[in-house]
């Protein structure tokens, strides 16, 4: 169980449990109308579904902080619907539905170490390392003579995801990618 919070302790970034689900406060405003009571206006984001809504709380309202924990795990393999991961310190294996993995799947390769977010022991999200190195499996050669700086072309990664890379990057090369933006950073010398 998480600890108990009062409305006065809520802030942007606070994680709460509401109706059995974890929520993140993405926007927060203290309000006090005229001679009225203190009110705490929150924009809440469901940490599993991503759905957002606004809710106003009063001074007396109490909450349970969300019981969240992050563990480092190694991605083992996926059978399409289920992702299998292993805790790197306890070697315990867990299964995670593809929905929970979300867009992380674009840059996820076997044996990669990731941070898994657990809500009440249940995996609900994956945070990739900020940078990953992935192989280009398909990309048409750049047009010769096209040296305009900033020109890019599509390239398919070993995960199947397509990114934009500079024209000089060739099929078979390994590139570094910023997973927070999904952008190409540089070529990695093999």
């Amino acid at each position: 169980m998480g600890s108990v919070l009062t409305a006065g302790e809520l802030r942007k970034g606070t994680k709460l449990e509401i109706d059995g689900e974890p929520y993140l406060i993405v926007d927060f405003e203290f309000s006090k109308p005229g001679k009225g009571q203190a009110l705490y206006r929150c924009r809440l984001k469901n940490m599993i579904t991503g759905i957002q809504f606004d809710r106003t709380y009063r001074s007396g309202d109490k909450f349970n902080s969300a019981d969240l924990e992050e563990q480092q795990m190694q991605f083992l393999y996926s059978d399409g619907e289920t992702y299998h991961l292993m805790n790197t310190s306890s070697y315990e294996q867990i299964e995670m539905p593809a929905a929970g993995v979300g867009d992380a799947t674009n840059f996820l390769t076997e044996n990669l170490n990731v941070d898994v977010l657990l809500f009440q022991g249940r995996p609900i999200g994956i945070t990739l390392p900020n940078f990953v190195e992935l192989k280009i499996v398909k990309s048409d050669p750049g047009i010769k003579g096209d040296t305009a700086s900033g020109a890019t072309k599509p390239a398919t990664l070993e995960t199947g995801y397509v990114i934009q890379v500079p024209l000089f990057v060739e099929e078979g090369e390994v590139v570094r990618i910023d997973t927070r933006t999904g952008a190409y950073v540089e070529r990695v010398k093999g």
């Binding site: 405003e29 006090k32 005229g34 001679k35 009225g36 009571q37 009110l39 206006r41 106003t56």
Partner: protein, 309 residues
């Protein structure tokens, strides 16, 4: 992390505007024949208000939550037009437009009522804005504002009917009233000119007198600009027994919610027998400066916000 030097340097323009605004306010009231007064910051008996929590200072003293009671004691003693610029303190208030310590402007007119204060607001705001233009113009969260445009005027009833879809009676449910006020009504008020929201339900009269011939509402108004409350004024309640009853009710509510027995402001109640018809208003100077400098939050117009203090 930015250094203190960088943080303060970045506020230079706003602090210069702040300084000019304070001088302009003083000039305005001097022209209008008001006397500037100073009253205690340390007080034994803060005004009992259900939702304003005083900060305890020293033994049985509190930091003032507003100079209101002292101002009215001066009026009762025959001072006719007075104003004050001072710091006021309220516990547990911290937000984009709330600081536990803030600069408050109060002015009082004997013989006047809340309508005369509304005229003062129009004249004061326009006076300050005209003097600051064209170098600096009122602006808030992406919206240019214009105090020269006509000022809208809503009764609380009409504003709720229009923006919240229901009409509050003399004693509306407090939660429903407060939540709809901040979610539905306030965000619509005061574009591009300030807006006057007046005639509050009787249960929200605070220290205002009830409207003669319409006792469901109090002669209380709030000034809004760009969705933000700037001032609260009223025709003052001068009936000692009614004021005493309202204080007793607020003191019991505070005993229940805060667990503290505040003393009844006896000297103030005693002065009411000499207090004639009058009106007074509290005006948030920091928020006014925010709008005049186009700042997004109080932290931008105060040199040292609470966390730096």
């Amino acid at each position: 992390m930015r250094s203190e030097r960088e943080i303060l340097s970045a506020k230079r323009r706003n602090l210069e505007i702040r300084s000019r605004v304070i001088r302009l306010i003083r000039g305005f009231f001097e022209e209008e024949g008001f006397l500037e007064v100073q009253t205690p910051i340390l007080t034994g008996a803060p005004a009992p208000e259900t939702h304003i929590v005083p900060i305890r200072a020293d033994g049985d003293r509190f930091l003032t939550t507003s100079p209101e009671l002292y101002m009215k004691r001066l009026l009762a003693a025959g001072f006719e037009r007075i104003f004050q610029l001072t710091q006021a303190f309220r516990a547990n208030e911290r937000g984009r437009v709330h600081h536990p310590e803030f600069t408050i402007l109060e002015w009082y007119r004997s013989g006047g009522d809340y309508k005369s204060l509304q005229d003062d607001c129009i004249n004061l705001v326009r006076h300050v804005c005209r003097a600051l233009a064209p170098e600096s113009r009122p602006f808030f969260r992406g919206s240019p504002l214009d105090p020269e445009a006509p000022w809208e005027r809503y009764t609380v009833r009409r504003a709720f009917r229009r923006f919240a879809g229901w009409e509050p009676g003399p004693e509306p449910d407090e939660d429903r009233f407060d939540i709809d006020m901040v979610e539905k009504v306030e965000p619509k008020l005061g574009f591009p000119a300030p807006c006057i929201l007046e005639d509050y339900p009787r249960s929200q009269a605070a220290l205002a007198r009830l409207k003669p011939g319409e006792s469901d509402v109090a002669e209380r108004f709030e000034l809004y600009w760009a969705g933000m409350e700037l001032a609260n004024g009223f025709s003052e309640l001068t009936d000692e027994s009614e004021q005493s009853a309202r204080f007793q009710e607020a003191l019991s509510a505070k005993q229940a919610s805060e667990g503290i027995s505040y003393p009844l402001p006896a000297a103030f109640l005693d002065s009411l027998k000499d207090l004639g018809t009058c009106a007074g208003i509290a005006f948030g100077v920091d928020r006014f400066v925010m709008i005049l400098s186009g700042a997004g939050e109080l932290d931008d117009v105060v040199a040292f916000p609470p966390e730096m203090a």
